[in-house]
């Protein structure tokens, strides 16, 4: 983050705002989670999310939140306990990062395969070693195929809003998938911004209680014994379960768009649904971003537009489900598309780039370029973004592009 970066300074927009307070990203995420009224919370401390667990524990201890809070001994057990709780029909919440997310990985698949709409905040952190607690996106992006909805927030307000939205998306009858809300460790988790905290009444009105059709509790109440996660041999229903899960992921795209629109109508803030294009319409060059460096990229785009350079930004909000068709449509007439991300998939490019390039594969004559930056919390400055735009503009003029990822900000 740099001094040049513009800050989002939200104002209470209507009667739904209870108050505006200066909160860190972690505190904002905890407030968002609290407003969703989770009934079971289970989280293990890890930098940079520990403040979320602590804030939630404070809410429960003070009586502000009526939830069972597990002082759990590991992230694996945190997710396991929430799987058990979600299976009874309870609304659940956890938070983690990096090593904790990796330790949970087995259970991420369990939660999605079990169609349990658990919601988790991820304060993105690098994968060690060398040891590093600072922010990059290689933790959540590496869990791409775990079956979780992955939504990325740009700032503290969006983290709060997206946590509330995530429950409504995940618990939709035609979705029923777990969702993680990711935001940059330190660049969002530890910075303070003015944040509008919606009133509990407004959130209750927006987000009905979780009441699944099938659950262990319902099975007990009905006296109708059901077996969950039963064994499905190859000739039985496993393949069909996975097909239905894939379809649910497709439908989640519609719900993400719809919930953003409904949230905007109710609370006066819209964030863009699957993605948020900025000055893209007549752009010759667009930089696709994820998370907090979007703010920096928009500032540089404004600067370049002043100089009549046709650049734009597209903030990707949903990495899974991936808005393949929607991206292809909005970027159809953009000759050069760059993708910047704080991760790298060994032996290839960044994870996001691979998916964006696949989405654009049928756009004739379009050129794409990947930028890997900010690993281990390295600051991404406006100068770095200028380097990316300059490279993309050069590609625009020359038609030449390097297929490999360009590492920006690294000392060679």
């Amino acid at each position: 983050m740099t001094a040049e970066q513009p800050r989002v300074t939200p104002e209470p927009t209507d009667e739904t705002a209870a108050e505006t307070r200066v909160l860190t990203g972690n505190e904002a995420a905890a407030h968002g989670a609290k407003l969703a009224r989770p009934e079971v919370v289970s989280a293990y401390p890890i930098t940079p999310q520990s403040a979320i667990s602590e804030t939630m524990a404070g809410f429960v201890a003070s009586g502000e939140l009526d939830a069972k809070l597990f002082r759990i001994e590991s992230e694996h057990s945190a997710m396991s306990s929430l799987i058990g709780a979600s299976l009874t029909g309870a609304r659940t919440f956890t938070a983690t990062a990096s090593n904790g997310l990796f330790y949970m990985a087995e259970m991420l698949h369990f939660a999605s395969g079990g169609r349990l709409p658990i919601v988790m905040a991820v304060a993105n952190r690098a994968a060690s070693p060398p040891w590093n607690v600072w922010g990059d996106q290689s933790d959540s992006l590496s869990q791409r195929d775990s079956g979780w909805i992955q939504l990325y927030a740009e700032n503290c307000q969006e983290a709060l809003d997206l946590l509330i939205q995530a429950y409504r998306i995940a618990e939709s009858d035609d979705v029923m998938l777990p969702a993680m809300v990711a935001f940059d460790g330190f660049q969002v988790s530890h910075i303070s911004e003015p944040v509008v905290i919606p009133s509990q009444e407004a959130v209750d009105d927006f987000l009905p209680p979780y009441d699944p059709e099938d659950s262990l509790a319902q099975s007990l109440v009905d006296g109708d014994p059901k077996a969950f996660h039963h064994i499905t041999p190859p000739e039985a229903s496993f393949f069909e379960y996975k097909y239905r899960q894939a379809q649910a992921g497709e439908r989640a795209k519609d719900r993400i768009e719809e919930v953003d629109r409904l949230f905007g109508e109710r609370f006066g803030r819209r964030w863009g649904g699957l993605f948020d294009p900025y000055r893209v319409d007549d752009a010759g060059v667009v930089l696709v971003t994820l998370g907090s460096l979007t703010t920096t990229a928009k500032a540089v785009a404004d600067e370049y537009r002043e100089k009549d350079l046709p650049v734009g930004v597209l903030k990707l909000r949903s990495f899974r489900p991936f808005p393949e068709d929607e991206l292809a449509t909005v970027l159809e007439d953009v000759p050069v598309v760059g993708v910047v991300e704080k991760d790298h998939s060994f032996g290839l490019t960044g994870s996001v780039y691979g998916d964006v390039a696949a989405a654009l594969t049928n756009v004739d004559g379009q050129l794409t370029q990947n930028f890997v930056t900010g690993l281990g919390g390295r600051e991404v400055t406006t100068e770095h973004i200028r380097e990316m735009y300059d490279a993309l503009l050069e590609t625009h003029d020359t038609g030449c592009v390097d297929r490999r990822s360009r590492w920006v900000g690294v000392s060679r």
Binding site: K68, F70, E73, S80, G84, G89, L216, H229
Partner: protein
Amino acid sequence: MKDPQPRDDKLFVQGHTMCPGCGVALSVNHIMDILGEDTVVLFSPGCLSAASTIEDNYRFRVPSAHMGLVHSAAFAAGVSAGLEQVGVDDVTVAPLAGDGATADIGFQALSAAAERNDDVLYFCHDNEAYANTGMQGSGTTPMGAATSTTPAGRVAPYGKSSRKKDLFKLITDHNVPYAATATPGYLGDFKEKVTKAKETNGFRFIQIFDPCPEGWKFDGSRTVEISKRAVQSGMWVLAESEYGEIEITRKPADREPVDEYLELQDRFNHLSDAEVAQIQAAVDEFWDGYMEAEV
């Protein structure tokens, strides 16, 4: 069973595919009789789940879920907390887990749930190996037993070289409301303990010594005999504890030598006399430890 038809009052129903003479099947039958309908059973991957929860052949008449191998206690604690939060009361949440899921890979989650005193009745069906995957050795495999990963060979003639992990004592040391050991050969003792555990709140743990004819290599008609001889020889101690205070619930008047117990099972048939003597010495020490631990 005299009656060939499934009985309407049974919650663990005939038609499962456990082996003839399986100790686990015997134990679960009695456990379900005592726990009753207001129960959620949770399966760690293993023989029981593989033989009774396959699609279109579900053999329980209570709600259930299949868990992963690592997390039985944490999963069950979540179910218990969730039911309380959604207002479904007076339900026994009972993980039915194997010894590998309990003593090895799931021990961290088990220890934490015991320490937190989560409201769970945890059953460890101890057949002293990973039976369902082909009898690989576990932390509760006894010293001297040959398993598929502790085979007796020329340079390692002994089978498993370390002693059986004492789960009951470890959980007792977490100061839990109730912990016990049981075995289907002593059914009165078994039923009393399951009943007591059901009527207690908080974390409850019962480790059941469940002989495995297939894995231990004995005839399935001798399950109860093996179960009894394990207790009579001191290979298995029947005990219970409340908040850390241990009481032995059945003391054999004269402990039998272990060789008679060992001879009944081919998993021990590679042992020399000297090795059997070593096992006898270890069992004597184990038994003396319990005598001293008793209040």
